[in-house]
């Protein structure tokens, strides 16, 4: 009997069963890929770092002496469990040029290594470990390839002094240490023979260096042991390197949020569909009860049916979830090998959950079968004595036309029916709006004070900076003067300034730390912003970020000792500031603090502030754009940016985030299309009699289509409005912690009203209406004559 019932049911109620099957497939696909992605992202960086063999503490050093000194220091340190040393060349970033010899877009120094001397795991884009490189070929990590528009197979030029030879790009590689944009370096891996050719250049030999991957359980002890070591160019813990992957992690977390949302959507849809389905079956249940079939038997029949549908759907969903999950992860895993150790087991688990959920929902929904009398069941669960009053509005009191009234009344009469749709659309729209707010903020100058002070233009030509650095601090001052003079000669009165970074040992309460400090050259102290406390008034006052305060324990009013080469200085913490430089692990000196030019570790962009307008006012956009072009020509570089462009350059993740936003918008449209189509078909199937009746009464087909589309449009509009209203607080709630991870605790998000309240809601609305219209056209097939066939 079970088999015959199933066979007949599946054959006769094809439309509704197909709708349920599609919902189960969607749910299974979203759930399986979502669960797998959650697991992948949660352990993402650690899994990748382990694969790459990254140590717990990483040191770059330069020079043979530094190598020996560090090795002996490490050998003597008890906390060191072991270390791996890799030889490398630390060169200027412009050592790799375009085939015609022109300079390419690069940020920091390049690290050149031979594939045969690698101790780290480096991976190609298919996540295969790189073990060999052909002669004349090179793999490059970081954003170098994308930023310069190269493709695998393109040729670049290795140029150093008179040495020059072509290199064919084998492709981008995934690099745990240098892969992130925040690190800013490019690792170039060559064939051993090519590497030796480079080493044969005696002047390059002085650039040889080492990368130490140190394994330890006590990072702090290793840090202290190496605090006095000479020749260290870079030393950071694995935890800090992990933070440099924060941008990739942000994208991964966005994917995670998307996966969770899609899972919620699928559950909402599944619940709606099953409830609706069983309501449809009530009459049949009543007939079965009336002829004496037991409640348990009836219930089992339906459970068996849903179990079969759930199994079939989950199986297809499981198969679809693997490519779908990969598609989602692919958009975020450009720099990381994002995998987990469970393979497809999580996909299978997710799909199994959907089978269980479907049967569980069916179990709950069929629960009423037991209590209901045959008559109740025939009357679709109504007892006939206590009919519930519909809560719709009255036509007489409404100012709407008949179709508008019917649409509004339907929603008000059966709000639960439309609630699933509202929740689904709202979640999807909200995701897009959150990303829109995030990218808009990242693309604006809202974050500028978390990097440098606000100026009109930023000149980030690395070669100019490097030249200045080699000429020591006086070089920077001269450079600023030269820039100002050059601008003056061109008829542009401007003040130039720059933010420099230093690294000094600091002692607080007996503990010593090596802390990066920033100090402005040519900057007025009042241009800085503090989040708490006050700006340093004297040379012995400093600002800390909350991250540094937490690391050292120093609070506002405390005194820390900064060990300058010229002597120790007790500095009072006058306030906190937020900085996205070094992910917030930075402090700030007063401009008069006795820094040593020899300890400059890095410099940010030259800032130009035109003096023909008030300091706190912005130049008009077209004037600024015109000046930017003039400055570009004047200095012969394209790296002249406005404050917003400089922020975008620093945050580096904007483009990818924009891409994810559009991917998400696409997924939202697909989900909206599917949900709208499925629900509209369900409604049509349920309202067949009403549609036929309206046609018999003389309602035109277009009016009936309009009635159906209008209902969906109202729900779509309500969802869009709700999402727009929630987007501000939800963005703050979800994205603020991500910015906090990057060092900015308090971010005022930029909300572009026309996009949030007009563009995206309109897109969602139009798409909902379009999907609704396509399905509502099916009502044309229902004829007024069909009233004769209605039970």
């Amino acid at each position: 009997m079970f088999f015959r019932f199933l066979k007949n049911d599946l054959r006769k109620k094809k439309a509704m069963n197909v709708i349920l099957l599609v919902i189960v497939i969607m749910a299974s696909m979203f759930m399986a890929s979502g669960l797998n992605n959650v697991m992948t992202v949660m352990n993402g960086t650690d899994h990748f770092f382990d694969l790459a063999g990254l140590g717990d503490y990483i040191v770059f050093s330069q020079g043979e002496e530094a190598k020996d000194s560090l090795r002996s220091q490490l050998d003597q340190t008890e906390a060191v469990k072991g270390y791996r040393m890799e030889e490398s060349l630390l060169t200027a970033p412009d050592i790799i040029r375009a085939a015609d010899g022109t300079k390419l877009e690069t940020k920091n120094a390049s690290v050149i290594q031979s594939v045969d001397r690698l101790k780290s795991g480096l991976f190609d884009m298919d996540n295969r470990r790189i073990t060999e490189v052909e002669k004349g070929h090179a793999y490059i990590s970081g954003a170098f390839i994308e930023k310069n528009g190269f493709q695998p197979g393109d040729t670049v030029l290795f140029c150093y002094e008179k040495m020059s030879f072509p290199l064919i790009l084998s492709g981008k590689m995934k690099d745990a240490l240098f892969g992130s944009d925040l690190m800013g370096n490019s690792r170039i891996v060559l064939n051993e023979e090519d590497y030796r050719t480079i080493l044969s250049n005696t002047s390059l030999q002085k650039h040889t260096g080492q990368i130490f991957n140190i394994d330890t359980d006590d990072v702090r002890a290793v840090e202290l042991a190496l605090s006095e070591a000479e020749g260290m160019v870079f030393n950071e813990s694995r935890a800090t390197i992990r933070m440099t992957c924060v941008m990739d992690l942000i994208l991964a977390i966005v994917t995670l949020i998307l996966s969770v949302c899609l899972t919620v959507v699928s559950f909402v849809m599944l619940r709606f569909c099953i409830t609706f389905h069983i309501m449809e079956e009530y009459r049949e249940i009543g007939v079965m009860k009336a002829i004496g079939i037991g409640s348990r038997r009836i219930r089992n029949l339906y459970l068996a049916k849903y179990a079969v549908l759930a199994l079939a759907g989950a199986l297809v969903g499981f198969a679809c979830s693997i490519p779908f999950g990969k598609l989602l992860m692919h958009s975020v895993s450009g720099n990381m090998v994002l995998e987990n150790d469970y393979g497809i087991r999580f996909h299978a688990f997710g799909s199994s959950l959907i089978v269980l959920a479907t049967v569980w929902f069916a179990w709950i929904c069929t629960g009423r079968v037991k209590k209901a009398s045959p008559l109740d069941a025939v009357r679709s669960g109504q007892t006939g004595e206590r009919f519930e009053k519909k809560r719709g509005c009255r036509l007489g009191k409404s100012h709407l036309g008949s179709i508008g009234y019917l649409a509004v009344n339907d929603i008000l009469s059966s709000p639960r029916r439309y609630l699933s749709m509202l929740i689904t659309f709202c979640i999807c729209t909200l995701l897009v709006l959150i990303l829109e707010n995030t990218t808009a903020t990242m693309n604006s100058d809202r974050l500028i004070n978390t990097f440098v002070t606000k100026s009109d233009l930023y000149l980030s030509d690395y070669s100019t900076l490097v030249n200045s650095m080699s000429a020591s601090d006086a070089g920077f001052e001269q450079q600023l003067e030269q820039i100002e003079q050059k601008l003056k000669d061109a008829g542009l009165e401007a003040k130039a300034c720059v933010e420099l970074q230093y690294k000094y040992p600091v002692t607080f309460k007996g503990n010593q730390y090596k802390i990066s400090f920033m100090q402005g050259l040519g900057v007025d102290m009042e241009d800085y912003k503090v989040s708490r406390g006050s700006l340093p008034q004297q040379e012995n006052e400093i600002l800390l970020t909350p991250q540094i305060s937490e690391m050292t324990g120093a609070k506002i009013g405390d005194t820390v000792t900064v060990h300058f080469p010229s002597g120790d200085m007790d500095c009072m913490v006058s306030g906190y500031f937020q900085s996205m430089c070094l992910l917030g692990k930075v402090a700030h000196f007063h401009t008069d603090a006795p820094t040593d030019p020899a300890h400059i570790s890095s410099a940010l962009a030259f800032q130009l502030r035109f003096t023909d307008h008030e300091k706190n006012t912005d130049l008009e956009e077209d004037v600024l754009e015109e000046r930017k072009e003039r400055v570009k020509k004047l200095f012969g570089t394209d790296k002249v940016m406005t404050a917003a462009e400089y922020c975008r350059d620093c945050v580096a993740v904007c483009d990818t985030l924009e891409a994810v936003k559009y991917l998400l918008l696409g997924i939202t449209f697909v989900v909206i299309f599917l949900v709208t189509s499925l629900m509209e078909r369900t409604f049509i199937s349920d309202e067949r009699a009403q549609i036929a009746l309206l046609k018999a009464m003389g309602f035109k087909e277009g009016r009936i289509v309009l009635w159906h589309v209008l209902r969906l449009a109202i729900v779509g509009f309500a969802a869009a409005v709700l999402a727009a209203a929630l987007s501000g607080p939800v963005t703050k709630l979800c994205i603020s912690p991500l910015f906090a991870m990057m060092g900015a605790d308090k971010v005022t998000f930029l909300i572009r009203p026309w996009k949030i309240f007009a563009f995206y809601p309109l897109c969602i609305l139009v798409f909902t209406m379009l999907a609704g219209l396509l399905q509502a056209l099916y009502t044309v097939k229902i004829r007024s004559r069909d009233t004769a066939n209605i039970e």
Binding site: K390, L406, A696, M697, G698, E701, R703
Partner: protein
């Protein structure tokens, strides 16, 4: 001129590539103010006839002149407008929109109609008058599942009359009702007809048909006989029924 003139009406369905001639050259007329019943055994084509002459279904051939216009040649749009403004239809299943109150269900065609002039308040006043006349004003604000079958069918009649149609079609209007409710509905239809409304209905109920001025008997898609209530038929209801019954028996009913 007859209000409804049916000439050589044919309706053919193709089922599994097999031709099923449901109506075969049907000819009849309905004069204004008449109350005509169509009777016949199940599957004889009476409902198809009603749906075809009311423009809800398309004829395969022939013509159906309604107030001089051939509805067979009308576009779907014209037919729809005609159904809204000039025809009323009462279904056996008492179909109503489930999310609307009884009164709103009745008022809906009036609100939709452009020909039905007046403000919304005026239209609602007409609805109330009609409901009062048919004795269902007490359930005006009720939901459709809060009223009895007889009340619901009277509400359906109200809805079909709200745009003051030229003709009222009814497909077994008492078919789903108990005896008391059937009598209520019949009384309403008779009263409406006596006030000038043309009524054409399909029925199995001899008692209902006996209330009509004319009965068409249909068998295998053909009108096999026409019973006209005798002019002196002012006798009792029982006599009318007996007379019609005899006629039907002659035709093999």
């Amino acid at each position: 001129m007859a209000l409804l003139e049916v000439k050589d009406l044919c309706k053919t369905y193709i089922v599994d590539k097999r031709q099923n001639n449901v109506l075969r050259n049907v000819n009849f007329q309905v004069e204004k103010g008449e109350m005509v019943a169509v009777m016949g055994p199940s599957g004889s084509g009476k409902s198809t006839l009603l749906y075809t002459v009311s423009g809800m279904d398309r004829a395969t051939s022939g013509s159906v002149l309604f107030a001089g216009r051939d509805i067979v040649k009308m576009s779907e749009k014209e037919l729809t407008e005609m159904r809204l403004d000039e025809m009323g239809f009462v279904f056996q299943q008492m179909l109503m929109l489930k999310n609307l109150s009884v009164m709103d269900n009745i008022a809906l065609p009036a609100i939709e109609s452009r020909r039905h002039k007046g403000t919304r308040q005026e239209k609602y006043e007409e609805v109330r008058t009609l409901m009062r006349k048919l004795g269902i004003i007490d359930v005006a604000e009720n939901d459709i599942n809060e009223v009895s079958g007889g009340q619901l069918q009277r509400a359906c009649i109200c809805r079909s009359l709200i745009n003051r149609p030229e003709i009222l079609f009814a497909d077994e209007p008492t078919g789903a009702l108990n005896r008391a409710s059937s009598e209520e509905v019949l009384e309403v239809l008779t009263k409406l007809n006596s006030e000038g409304t043309t009524v054409m209905m399909v029925t199995h109920d001899v008692k209902v048909a006996a209330a009509c001025s004319r009965v068409l008997y249909i068998l295998d898609g053909n009108i096999r006989g026409e019973y006209v209530r005798p002019g002196n038929a002012d006798g009792t209801q029982e006599q009318k029924i007996r007379s019609l019954n005899n006629w039907l028996l002659e035709l093999g009913w």
